[in-house]
Amino acid sequence: MLNQILFIDDDPITLMLCKKVIARADFCHEIITSSNGEEALQHFTAMKKNRDIIRPDLIFLDLNMPIMGGWEFLNYFEKIEFSEFKTIKVVVLSSTIDPEDLEKSKQYEMVIDFLPKPISTQMLTYLSDKMGF
């Protein structure tokens, strides 16, 4: 079981759904959320300053968000200033059907999977098998 996961999604219903599904699957101890990429980056910046803040093991990332979308977040997150978080894995969780998005996601080393919404318990089982916990 993971310790903490971060959900980045602007839709409160999606977040609520994710929390409930994850709670049932015993996937992790704690869930934190950010409503867009910028908010998530602020959280990581804060983390850099304060070592006491718990670091998430996995990020579920939506693509289409206001202020800062998923791709932009990944571009920032890849940079040297966030290099201390590069062990954190990212799963893109989106309702997009554009085949280009799937191709694009493969360019990011930290993205380990590209899954369609909605999140399900089967999906979490598959992920925990894949990540080996």
Partner: protein, 571 residues
Amino acid sequence: MKSKTNQVILIYIIISLFVAIVSYRIAWHYIQPQHLYLYSFAKDCIFIILTGILFRFILAKNDNRSIAIFKQLKKTNDEIRESNEKYDIVAKATSDTIWDWTLEDDNFTWNKGIESVFGYQINEVGNTSTWWFDKIHPEDSIKMSIRLYSFIEQKTEKWQDQYRFKCADNTYKYVLDRGFLIKDESGKVTRMIGAIQDITKQKEEEQRLKLLETVITQSKDSVLITEAHSDKNQIPNIIYTNPAFSQMTGYTSEEMFGKAPNFFNSPKSDLEALQTILNAIAKKEECLIETLSLSKNKEEYWIRLSMIPVFNTENEISHWISIQRDISDDKKREKEKEQLIRELTQNNKDLKQFSYITSHNLRAPLSNLTGLLNLLEDMPIENQELQEILTGFSKSTHLLNETINDLVKVIIIKDNPSIKKEDIQIADIFENVFSQLSFQIELYKPIIKLNFANVSIINTNKAYIESILLNLLSNSIKYKSEDRKLKITIASQKTDEGILLLFKDNGIGIDLDQHRNKVFGLYQRFHNYPDSKGLGLYLVKSQIETMGGSIEIESEVNKGTTFTLIFKNKN
């Protein structure tokens, strides 16, 4: 001659009398009267001898004169005969038909030409001018007569005319008739002699050439003819331009005569095209180019220009012909078309983006609904009515989800009709497909055997082949048999036709006897599975056919299905 005879007799009498008197005197003086007989005899002898000598002189002189006259006559005669012969030969050689018209009594005679050229027998030929006039084509006769009488009345100096003359077989021949007048001492016209020349062939040739010429003169394409040769790196000089040339370029024939064509006079002219022409001229080959050109009043226009060498019988270039067409409108249309295509491509791209966004925005809340309903599945609901409402809610949500997924797939297949093909490793394609289906593969753990030893690379469109294999693979998983473990075999083969990809499973199969015609149809479902939408194989077929390939199916119920994908060779 008569007077000459009298003259001779008179001279003879005078001389004889003179001789008689002289002899008498001599005799009288020398001879005695008793010798009168002898005297008479001697006198007569002397008289005969003297007059004989005299006669000889006179006759000899006369004779000489006669011989001279006879010789003169013979010479004249020979000359006339020769002249006549010459006339006949000339008439024969020129095939001229000669006529001779005595105006006073209207006597009209023809030479042999009337028979040999026009086919009339001697007895058919009339001997008045009326017969002549009757044979002239009605459309020509009035004009011809006016000119002829104007000549006879000596109002005009020369007469020659062209008209149609009727032959014995009632056809008409074009003739050229030339005439001369013969006048008496008072200057009155007595005779007219004419020579008719058959010019039917020339006339027909002339008409044929005139007809052919209309092609050049009436053509809307600009036509020019140039000399055979030119200085190096120069188009040969113009010797003819048609009216369309002047219309198009604004330059008259006179302006361009003897100059090289100036189609490359715009700063924007295609100099590569000019080089093409010069190379073709050097090699004596025809060529076709397009360039921007400038008219005399500095207007730009596009031309398509051809240069064609014309060879004579000795296989040497006699001249070049060049045809130019103003293709400005074509070029404009082409540009408009390109612009239109650009706009349409952009529109299409926008629409595609729009459909992806719309689909995303529809799917996002829909996936929430699906997820929430999934949560409800594990929760016991006591209230019967609420349960019913939630069941309806769930069914409708799933239906909406399926419909949207259908539409999404149609969008993807219609997305890009012109597809790009590339050489792709088959193994790489499967790696991608498996990763997209990794969730299901992990779940059902089918046995998958791959054999790409024969062919490892195919030339195809990456997105399509992935979609096709994704469909086939997910179908195999979806329609696996519950009785046995799913086994999928995929192998590649090379044939004359192209590359085959065999995709075989041991699933529930399709009854082909019943469904063969509908297998690849739209919205065809053969199994009552809730998540079957009847779209997968339709998409597969559309995609492989878009790439120029084909798909075949073999299947047996409860044994399995084999799909054969055929990727045609590049050509």
